[in-house]
C-alpha cells in the first residue's frame, strides 16, 4: 500500500474516533453554562487527572521537549520533569480553594472569581492578560500540527494545510464542551503516553541499546549527559527560573484553572496531588531521552528545526505504519491542549466580556451559543498566528507562561490575603506584566534578569506593588471579604466555638 494511503487511513481513523466521542458528549450535554464549560462539576478522578495531564502536555511536550533534549541534553529533565511535578503543590494551595468557590458560587471562568474579590476592572484585566498570552500558545499547537502532518505525509501535506486541518477538527471537538474535551483528553493522554514509550523503545533498539547510546553520547558530547547541559545553558538562575515558571504559571493557565472547577468531590483533587507528579516522572522522561539520543543519530539540527527531531527519528527508524501512529500521538498531545485552551478562552469571552459587559441579560442558552461563535473565531486567530512561526515551540511557550505567571501574587492574594485591595491588585498586574513584556522583548537591560528568566523580576515587581499599594489604599469592605473568607474560615480555621466542640469531643472519646 502506498505510504500516503497508510497515513491517510490512520489520520481518518484518528479524527473519526475522536469526533465520535466529541459528538456523543455534545449529544448528552445540557444547554447550561455550567454543563458546557464545567461538565456540570461531576468529573471523577481518572478523567480529571488525565484531562489535566493531557491539557498540560502539548505540542511542546511531544516535540519541544525532544527538541530541547536534543539541543540542551538530559539536563532538561530537571526543569521540565521535576519542576512540572512540583506544580502539584498547587492542587492544595490554589486548587482546593478555587474548587470550593466554584462549587459555592458557580464560577466557570477564572476572571469571574477574581471579579467577586477585586471588582470588574480586574476581571477585564485578567481576561485580557489571559487572552493575550494564551493565543500565541494556542498557535504553538497549530504549528505542531503543521510539523507533524508534514512529516506524517512525507511532505505531501504542506505545513499550512496540516495546521488548517487540525484547526477545523478542533473547532468541531470544542463544540461539545468540557465533557467531550475531558473524555477525548483522557483517551488522548493514554495514547500519548503509549506513543512516547513506543518511540523511546524504538530509538533505543535501533541505537543498539541504552548503554551503547549513552557511551556514544559520552564520547561525542558529554555535556548532553550532565548538568548544566550543552553550552552550560542551565545556570543556577535559569534552573530556579524554570521551576518558578512552571510552578507558578501552569496552574493559572485558564485551561488548567478551569479544571479545578470540574471535580465532583474533594477526593478527586487529593488524588491528583499524589498521582500527577508520578505521571510527570514518566511522561517527560521519554521525550527528553529521545531528543538527547537523537543528537548522536541525526546531528546538525539548529534553531526551530530541533523541534523536528522526534518526527525525523521516526521517519528514520520506524516502519511507516508505526511512524504514522506515533505521529498521530503527537497530534493527540497538541489537540488535547488546544481544544482546552479554546474552550477556556471561549468561556472568558462569553462570561467575562459578553455576559458581563455586552449583554448582561443573556440567557444561558444564548451564552452557550455565543461561546461557540467565539470559539470558531479564536480557532481562526490561532491558525493565523501559526501561519508565520517566528520562534521555537519552547520560546513561545516560555513567553506565554511568563505573562500568566505574573498573575500569581494577585491570585494568591484573592484567596488568602484579606487586606489586599482592588488597586493593589490592579497595579500589581499592570506593573508585573509591563516588566515581563519589556524583558521578553529585551527592551529592559539583561542584568535585570539577575541571571534568571523574565518571570523572576516580573514577580518581584508584581508582589512588591501589590503589598505597597494595598497598604496605601483603603481596605476592602467587610461584605466583599466575607463572600470568600467566611467559607475559607469555616474550612481552614474552625471558629473558637467549633474548636471548643472538637476539644470536648476529643476529651469525651478519650474517656
Amino acid at each position: 500500500m502506498p505510504q500516503v494511503a497508510i497515513s491517510t487511513i490512520i489520520l481518518v481513523i484518528f479524527l473519526g474516533f475522536f469526533s465520535f466521542i466529541g459528538l456523543y458528549g455534545y449529544k448528552i450535554g445540557r444547554k447550561t453554562v455550567e454543563d458546557y464549560f464545567a461538565a456540570d462539576r461531576k468529573l471523577g478522578t481518572f478523567v480529571t487527572l488525565f484531562t489535566y495531564f493531557a491539557t498540560l502536555c502539548s505540542a511542546f511536550t511531544f516535540l519541544g521537549c525532544a527538541g530541547w533534549g536534543y539541543s540542551k541534553g538530559l539536563a532538561w529533565y530537571g526543569p521540565i520533569g521535576v519542576a512540572t511535578a512540583l506544580i502539584s503543590i498547587n492542587f492544595y494551595i490554589l486548587g482546593y480553594r478555587i474548587w470550593l468557590l466554584g462549587k459555592r458560587f458557580g464560577y466557570v471562568s477564572p476572571p469571574e472569581l477574581i471579579r467577586d474579590r477585586f471588582g470588574k476592572e480586574l476581571q477585564i484585566i485578567y481576561a485580557l492578560v489571559m487572552i493575550t498570552f494564551v493565543l500565541p500558545y494556542l498557535a504553538v499547537q497549530a504549528m505542531g500540527a503543521g510539523y507533524a502532518l508534514e512529516e506524517l505525509s512525507g511532505g505531501a501535506v504542506p505545513y499550512v494545510f496540516g495546521a488548517a486541518i487540525i484547526t477545523i477538527f478542533m473547532m468541531f471537538l470544542v463544540l461539545g464542551g468540557m465533557r467531550s474535551i475531558a473524555w477525548t483528553d483522557t483517551v488522548m493522554g493514554v495514547m500519548m503516553l503509549g506513543c512516547l514509550a513506543t518511540a523511546f523503545v524504538l530509538v533505543v533498539m535501533k541505537g543498539g541499546g541504552l548503554s551503547n547510546i549513552v557511551a556514544k553520547i559520552a564520547s561525542e558530547s558529554p555535556a548532553h549527559l550532565s548538568r548544566p547541559g550543552v553550552g552550560g545553558f542551565f545556570t543556577p538562575g535559569i534552573w530556579f527560573g524554570f521551576m518558578l515558571l512552571w510552578v507558578l504559571a501552569d496552574p493559572l493557565m485558564p485551561h488548567l484553572w478551569m479544571r479545578m472547577y470540574v471535580p465532583k468531590n474533594v477526593n478527586v483533587i487529593k488524588r491528583m496531588m499524589v498521582f500527577f507528579p508520578l505521571i510527570c516522572l514518566v511522561v517527560f522522561f521519554f521525550p527528553t531521552w529521545i531528543g538527547a539520543m537523537g543528537y548522536t543519530m541525526i546531528p546538525g539540527l539548529e534553531g526551530a528545526n530541533v523541534d523536528r527531531i522526534l518526527p525525523l527519528l521516526m521517519v528514520k527508524f520506524a516502519p511507516y505504519w508505526l511512524m504514522a501512529i506515533i505521529l498521530a500521538g503527537s497530534l493527540a498531545a497538541l489537540i488535547s491542549t488546544a481544544d482546552s485552551q479554546i474552550l477556556a478562552l471561549g468561556s472568558i469571552f462569553t462570561r467575562d466580556i459578553y455576559a458581563s459587559f455586552i449583554n448582561k441579560k443573556a440567557t444561558t442558552e444564548k451564552q452557550v451559543k455565543m461561546g461557540r461563535i467565539f470559539i470558531i473565531i479564536l480557532c481562526l486567530f490561532g491558525f493565523l498566528i501559526a501561519l508565520r512561526p517566528v520562534s521555537t515551540l519552547v520560546a513561545i511557550t516560555t513567553a506565554a507562561f511568563t505573562g500568566i505567571g505574573v498573575l500569581y501574587p494577585t491570585t494568591i492574594a484573592a484567596l488568602y490575603w484579606k487586606r489586599a485591595t482592588k488597586w493593589g491588585a490592579i497595579s500589581s498586574v499592570i506593573a508585573g506584566e509591563t516588566v515581563a513584556v519589556l524583558l521578553i522583548y529585551k527592551i529592559l537591560p539583561g542584568w535585570l534578569l539577575i541571571g534568571s528568566l523574565p518571570i523572576l523580576p516580573s514577580l518581584v515587581v508584581a508582589t512588591l506593588t501589590l503589598v505597597v499599594v494595598s497598604y496605601l489604599t483603603t481596605p476592602p469592605s467587610p461584605k466583599r471579604i466575607a463572600k470568600f473568607f467566611d467559607l475559607f474560615d469555616s474550612v481552614f480555621q474552625p471558629s473558637d466555638e467549633t474548636k471548643k466542640f472538637l476539644d470536648a469531643d476529643k476529651h469525651r472519646l478519650k474517656k
Binding site: L74, G81, V82, A85, K270
Partner: protein, 84 residues
C-alpha cells in the same frame, strides 16, 4: 495573653509547620547543584546518578503528598461536598 496573628503565608499551627518544612525541603533538594558537572556514576551502565536522584525526588514528593492529603487536608463544608 494576647493572641498573635501570623501573616497568612506562615504556618498557623505546629501541624502545618511540619508539612511546610517537608514541602520546602523537596523544593530545596531540587536545586542539587553539588552534583553538577558530572554524569558519573552511570547506574546500570546508562542512567546518570543525578537522573536517578531526580526520579527519587519526585517519588518522595508523591509519598509526602499522599500522607498530606490523608493527615492534614481539611474537609469541605457538608453542603459543598454533598452538592449534586
Amino acid at each position: 495573653m494576647k493572641k498573635i496573628h501570623l501573616p497568612f503565608w506562615l504556618p498557623q499551627t505546629k501541624r502545618a509547620l511540619v508539612w511546610y518544612v517537608l514541602f520546602i525541603l523537596i523544593f530545596i533538594l531540587y536545586h542539587d547543584f553539588w552534583s553538577w558537572g558530572t554524569y558519573q556514576p552511570l547506574i546500570g551502565g546508562w542512567l546518570p546518578a543525578w537522573f536517578l536522584y531526580d526520579i527519587v525526588l519526585i517519588i518522595a514528593y508523591a509519598v509526602i503528598a499522599f500522607f498530606f492529603t490523608r493527615k492534614y487536608w481539611p474537609k469541605p463544608p457538608q453542603d459543598i461536598e454533598e452538592k449534586k
